[in-house]
């Protein structure tokens, strides 16, 4: 039998060598742990500190910047702010909504299916922990070039994992993003969002209070999976020489999680817990130290009582294990029996593993001996904080000077149309049905709008018809050219996507995906993006309710483009007035709202046609976004619009294509000014709407201060743009919908098509 490294032993053997570097701790961090404890840490304590002080859990590089979100002016809508598992927003009628997006990038590269699946599982538990019933999920995905061999390995697994877990949990997938870029080869991004709903009085917090209250671990047994997931996997750069990291990825069981959800909601309804926390990254180390740290007392845990899948696990491994589908609750002694009965009903294993104690220590025993004795705040909330050095990227001036406006433009109408087809059939612009068909969008019967709409819309009350809208956006080309502006453009796009559905934007979440914080240029990009987002939220009057930071998204010294994925939540007072994006009927007037400038920097056109990234991203005008949002809300309220679709990457060419193909209704259009600019500029604060009352819209738009341009009339089975060859919808659909099946298709799509990846077909 191996010797147990007890507190007593640690005191007697101060000079024992400890493998802190292998666990991801730096020399000074290890020294600080010794300082806090007044001795060397035990093996179990070292394990806890190493996972909790990892970048993933401690936010040690990002914290100093993220404070800007906390400094935003207070919002009446915000019921619970940053710091809890997820922020909570008041959406009216006594309803509260909690939503959050989280990354599972590194695990998804190592093991695509399980990495993505457990990404969904983890964010769903965060939402559940707040006391809410999870009601929908979304996913924002990035991969390397669509035609790269490794993308064919990673993408199908990730999509199947997101679908496999969410479908089996019974959560509709209502939208998201799928984009490709060389920079994500070796570092795909898998960001999953979950949204949940509850009544105001049902909000739960993660804290351990009340001396003598029991600590109950419930859900799956603890196994050897995911050990060190947050430290050795998510907080380090991949490199070619490193050991295989597959054992650090967790394995998901959505069936157990579904039971956990139902059991928790029944437990909440019967008011059986005083505090609750899910077990995600850093497992028991995180749950126990965070609960104890946020509470008023201490906590004691008998580790022998933890149900195990593998009886050979060491105490340190039990504390670090990231086995999925586990929760930890604080329960008053006289409610324990009732709590366990609910768990039995749902076949959920539940075990009392400890209790809340007097004093301020977190203690853990193993075989009757003390192996952990620490102040929990030092583990959970007082980890290291770094002000990392920052430097503006040396290549940024050259990049910004390389103006996309100088690129050769199409010289004939035929060439212009070829560029149109190239943009909308590029992997970024193409139909995403191949992916979204693998997701259940119907379950629970409240999905009002889902992908490919601009925002997902979910009904939360069947009697009052109140509902919510959500959008996720993260253009990384813009952020590469200017991270401050890029973050604001993403905020603006998500805001606009919620607004075009007719909803009122209420709150913001984010998932900030960047390279290594140890690189000053990456740190500068991060700081700029945070500053941009905070300034943008201040101007739009929206609170940031929480978020997630994913660093070390780089292989060797090549970082991903900065990818701040921004989520905006909006409220619909009556979802029956939601506005869809597709054209449904002939004879309606097509209007463009907003102004179009010559803005091609970071555009889809420059990327697809010229493989070019350079210049400045489109200008941000948040006042114009706000006016546009207010106008769209008013038009929706008055029933003046039949459809609304935002204009973003791919410009008007992309917007017109999607609106026409949604229900197979064409249009006859005259584009103002230079047709190339009209089709491919990516100026922000624009949307295309259809109406049967153009006069009414123009009057309202004038009042709102939003410029309106009439483009034409819906009808026919082609997009007939004045001065261009007529584009039959059948041809457009064939180009738009063939791309992803040709790249990733199954047996039904056995004849691979040649896809123009990064080039224009020569026609």
């Amino acid at each position: 039998m191996t010797l147990i490294d007890t507190v007593e032993r640690a005191e007697k053997t101060p000079d024992d060598e400890q493998p802190y570097r292998e666990l991801g701790l730096k020399d000074d961090e290890y020294a600080r742990i010794r300082d806090i404890l007044g001795r060397r840490p035990t093996t179990a304590e070292l394990a806890m500190y190493s996972v909790m002080w990892s970048e993933h859990c401690s936010y040690k590089s990002s914290k100093v910047h993220l404070r800007q979100f906390g400094d935003l002016p207070p919002s009446d809508a915000l019921l619970v702010g940053i710091g809890e598992n997820a922020g909570v927003v008041d959406v009216g009628d006594g309803y509260a909504v909690t939503f959050k997006v989280e990354s599972h990038n590194h695990p998804s590269y190592v093991e695509p299916y399980q990495g993505a699946a457990t990404g969904v599982g983890g964010i769903v538990r965060d939402i559940l922990t707040m006391g809410a019933r999870p009601i929908a999920v979304m996913d924002s995905l990035r991969f390397g070039r669509a035609d790269a061999p490794d993308t064919a390995r990673v993408l199908p697994g990730v999509v199947a994992g997101v679908g496999g877990y969410g479908n089996c949990l019974g959560l509709p997938n209502i939208g998201g993003e799928l984009l490709f870029d060389e920079c994500y080869a070796g570092n795909p991004l898998v960001n999953a969002l979950c949204v949940g709903v509850m009544k105001h009085e049902d909000v739960r917090l993660a804290k351990a209070e009340g001396v003598g209250n029991k600590v109950i671990l419930f859900g799956a047994r603890t196994g050897g999976d995911g050990i060190g997931g947050v430290s050795v996997l998510a907080s380090e750069t991949f490199d070619a020489e490193g050991p295989a990291k597959r054992p650090s990825v967790q394995v998901g069981d959505p069936f157990t999680e579904k039971l956990l959800i139902e059991a928790c909601l029944e437990i909440f309804a019967a008011d059986l817990v005083t505090g609750i926390q899910d077990l995600g990254g850093a497992g028991l180390s995180c749950a126990t130290s965070e609960l104890a740290s946020a509470g008023t007392g201490g906590m004691h845990v008998d580790l022998d009582t933890v149900p195990l899948r593998d009886s050979t696990l060491t105490p340190a491994e039990i504390l670090m294990s990231e086995s999925q589908e586990r929760m930890c609750a604080i329960v008053e002694p006289d409610k324990v029996e009732q709590f366990l009965a609910v768990c039995r009903k749902w076949d959920v294993l539940a075990t009392v593993i400890g209790e809340v104690t007097e004093g301020d220590r977190l203690t853990v025993d193993w075989h009757g001996e003390r192996i952990v004795d620490v102040p929990p705040r030092t583990v959970a909330h007082e980890g290291p904080v770094y002000e990392r050095p920052m430097a503006r990227p040396a290549d940024l001036d050259a990049l910004q000077d390389d103006d996309a406006a100088q690129l050769p433009r199409p010289s004939t109408p035929e060439e212009l149309q070829a560029h149109w087809l190239a943009v909308v059939s590029s992997p970024d612009g193409a139909d995403k049905t191949w992916v979204t068909e693998q997701y259940d969008r119907y379950v629970r019967g409240n999905t009002v709008l889902a992908q490919p709409e601009d925002a997902g819309v979910v009904r939360i009350d069947e009697d009052s018809h109140r509902g919510i809208a959500l959008a996720l956006d993260g253009n990384a080309r813009y952020a590469r050219l200017d991270p401050y502006t890029g973050a604001q453009l993403n905020l603006a796009e998500a805001y606009r996507n919620v607004a075009v559905s007719g909803a009122k934007p209420l709150a913001v979440t984010n998932c900030l995906n960047f390279g290594s914080p140890e690189e000053p240029e990456v740190m500068w990009q991060f700081a700029e993006a945070v500053r941009g987002l905070a300034d943008g939220c201040r101007e739009l009057g929206l609170p940031v309710t929480g978020g997630n930071v994913s660093l070390y998204n780089q292989t060797g010294d090549v970082a991903i483009n900065p990818t701040p994925v921004i989520g905006v939540l909006g409220v619909h007072e009556d979802v029956r007035r939601r506005v869809p994006s597709g054209w449904r009927a002939a004879g309606e007037t097509v209007l463009l709202l907003g102004l179009t400038g010559e803005e091609f920097g970071g555009s889809a056109w420059a990327s697809v046609v010229h493989g070019h990234l350079g210049g400045r991203p489109p200008a941000v005008d948040l006042a114009a976004e706000r006016k546009l949002g207010e106008l769209l809300a008013a038009l929706g309220r008055e029933g003046l619009v039949t459809s609304a679709h935002d204009v973003a990457d791919g410009g008007l060419a992309q917007t017109l294509t999607e609106s026409a193909l949604r229900h197979g209704v064409g249009a006859r259009l005259v584009l103002p000014g230079d047709r190339f600019t009209a089709l491919f500029s990516e100026s922000a604060a624009r949307a295309v709407i259809t109406t049967t009352d153009p006069g009414g819209v123009k009057t309202t738009a004038q009042w709102a201060g939003v410029p309106v341009t009439e483009l034409g009339t819906t009808g026919g089975d082609a997009l007939a743009v004045d001065g261009l060859p007529e584009l039959p919808l059948a041809e457009l659909r064939a180009a738009w919908s063939a791309t992803l099946p040709a790249l990733f298709g199954g047996p039904e799509h056995s004849t691979p098509l040649t896809v123009p990846a990064g080039t224009v077909p020569t026609s």
Partner: protein, 223 residues
């Protein structure tokens, strides 16, 4: 009219089935898999989902739940039973309907709005449709490919027990485009597509699914 909806561990569309019953004018009654109690319901719906996580085989474990013994006994006496998706899989595993549901031929989970042709408008669950009617309701499954031995398929077709066939594309590779089948007496119906997701204009591709639930209310009155 009381229509029972069974919740197994892992059932997901039970809330949707209850809503559909309510919108059709019936009273939904929640039934629990572990209890031998049908609560005097007039008909039973086995909803979609992933009972027991699809472990072993989809529907195999739920088919052995205590309440299923009661459902099988009563179904043999004529109690109307509808199995949707995972519920269909459970009915096949329980021996109330012939055939089996296997992994989709293309190996992906697939969710789309599907055209079905009604081939039987005289079962307990389909009298509000007409023979040959085309309806659009969502399909969503990973293991929805209906299979049976050729001789059994011939017999099923000979006995006119195919209730629905897929039209305009077969979403999962089912034999002979079969989407749903019925028992000899036409009281038990199982299908992979989801009528409970097509009961409101706001949330479904159509309201074509409502007919299942209005049909059974009439069947119960007639019985």
């Amino acid at each position: 009219m009381r229509i029972g909806i069974i919740t197994f561990p892992g059932s997901l569309d039970d809330v949707d089935a209850a809503r559909a019953v309510r919108l059709a004018g019936g009273e939904p009654v929640a039934l629990w898999h572990a209890e031998h109690d049908l609560k005097d319901v007039d008909a039973v719906v086995l909803p979609g989902g992933f009972s027991y996580g699809d472990y072993l085989r989809a529907g195999a474990i739920a088919a052995r739940a205590p309440l299923m013994q009661d459902v099988v006994d009563r179904a043999r006496q004529g109690l109307p039973v509808l199995g949707i998706c995972n519920g269909f899989q459970v009915l096949c595993e329980a021996g109330l309907l012939p055939g089996a549901l296997t992994r989709n031929s293309h190996l992906h989970f697939r969710n789309r709005d599907q055209v079905l042709v009604v081939e039987r408008a005289d079962t307990a669950w389909t009298t509000d449709y007409t023979h040959g009617q085309r309806i659009v309701i969502p399909v969503k499954n990973g293991e929805g490919r209906y299979v049976a031995a050729d001789a059994d398929l011939d017999r099923l077709e000979g006995e006119n027990r195919v209730v629905f066939r897929y039209a305009d594309g077969n979403p999962n590779g089912s034999s002979r485009d079969i989407a749903g089948v019925t028992s000899e007496d036409g009281r038990v119906v199982g299908l992979m597509p989801h009528p409970e997701h097509a009961v409101e204009d706001l949330t479904g591709p159509s309201t074509d699914g409502l007919g299942f639930f209005t049909s059974v209310l009439k069947a119960v009155v007639a019985a």
